[in-house]
Amino acid sequence: MSDKLELTCIGCPMGCQLEVEIENKKIIKVKGNSCIRGEIYAKKECTNPTRIVTSSVCVENGVIDVVSVKTEKDVPKNKIFKVIDELKDVAIKAPVKIGDIIVENVANTSVNVVATKNVKAR
């Protein structure tokens, strides 16, 4: 039995319309993608959907009170709220630099959360 699944690629803002052919839970064919990223996304989205999570954490003694952060790599989609939860009570001291590790191995994903903004100390 083969199945067809329609997806919108989120690999980049192009948003390619993908058509994935699945047979016996295996991906046979990906159509509609304009680059390799589309194929990778389709395969992932049908087996192990992941997202990069972006949020913010509190900064102490900074010129602004929050610093933006992201997961360094994409994490399983069902862990998004776990990641957010672990960031809730984090407070980091200024100065903060882009790339500074804010939380290691967040939500047991073996992915770090890093700062995405420089914040100078007050």
């Binding site: 997202r51 949020s55 929050v66 933006s68 903004k117």
Partner: protein, 418 residues
Amino acid sequence: MLNYDIVIIGGGPAGLAAAIKAKEEGIDNILILERDSVLGGILNQCIHNGFGLHTFKEELTGPEYAQRFIDKVIDMEIPYKLNTMVININSDKTIIAVNEEEGLLEINAKAIVLAMGCRERPRGAINIPGDRGAGIFTAGTAQKFVNIDGLMPGREVVVLGSGDIGLIMARRMTLEGAKVKAVVELMPYSSGLKRNIVQCLDDFNIPLKFSHTVINIKGKYRVEGVTIAKVDKNRKPIKGTEEYIKCDTLLLSVGLIPENELSRNAGIMLSNITGGPIVNESLQTNVEGVFACGNVLHVHDLVDFVTIESYNAGKSAARYIKGQRFSNEGSIKIEAKDGVRYTVPKSINIDNVEKMVQLRFRVSNVYKNSHVSVYFDDIKEIYKKKKILTPGEMETVIITNEMLKKYMDTRKITVRIE
């Protein structure tokens, strides 16, 4: 009186890229004027990822994307003034600006790059009836509260408009613990990017109601709820379809307007479709030596395209300083027709084209399995198949120098959807 070769109004992604390019082209006497306390513009509050895939071939967040350009500006020692508000530009290219430290500044520029960006349409622009309690914000204002100030604007949210900022904020509010009850869109399609609908709404099961609008806001001191209704083909609410949604916050994502008060004072002609200056192939406005790029010219969905456009504007400004002139004499007019709302630029003078011109445009409706056609007078030169065209996504066709030479006597280029 201060004297500069090129003054760039605005230190967001457009202004930064224009400055970098102008400097690379050998112009040293540049000044960036920025009204905020930091460079980077709106990118500072766009903490989500998805920026830079075209420019850097990697996926960055807004602040990271901005920082790369800020670092370069600092590295190249391009002068800039922060907390500096430009209050007037004259058609003779004198600029009046003001800041706390220096007071009133009179600046004489040989060339100006307009890079002021855009602003959000507020409640008043769409005339929603009802109470005027607290809790009604534009999506971008809410974004600043959450991402820069660390404050939550509300707990139960309805978003009106499915523009990108509205979609992004629906997710952001959800992640921060708010309940987003619905995103309501007047049109039968979204003006936001597909990926944002997938990633911001579908991922969190937030309902998106097409052909619906908010017809009343309740709550004298604080928003208590909104009434939404389905609309007909003419976008008029249909009786009997009203639905009350309890909420304490209404976010508006109902369009962006290029911020051109300064341009108007300078005698710059604006397009009544884009709200931005009418420019030629060199991104020069009708005032010689004044160029425009980024969201002040026309609203973009991708910062990567802003960067490319602004490099071009910076390059033109540098060439202007070196003595080149970008006259419109003998220019080919570009007409937007049959589903094409506008084009940037509006004219091409072949003498000013180095290799090619990127013609950017938006369509007025959703078109599936259609073609973008470009006619040189009556001859169809480009016929590009498109699976989908939507008003939310800016399109590009490239007019090459070869094409322009092939049709030397062309008087009009027409872009249409077929």
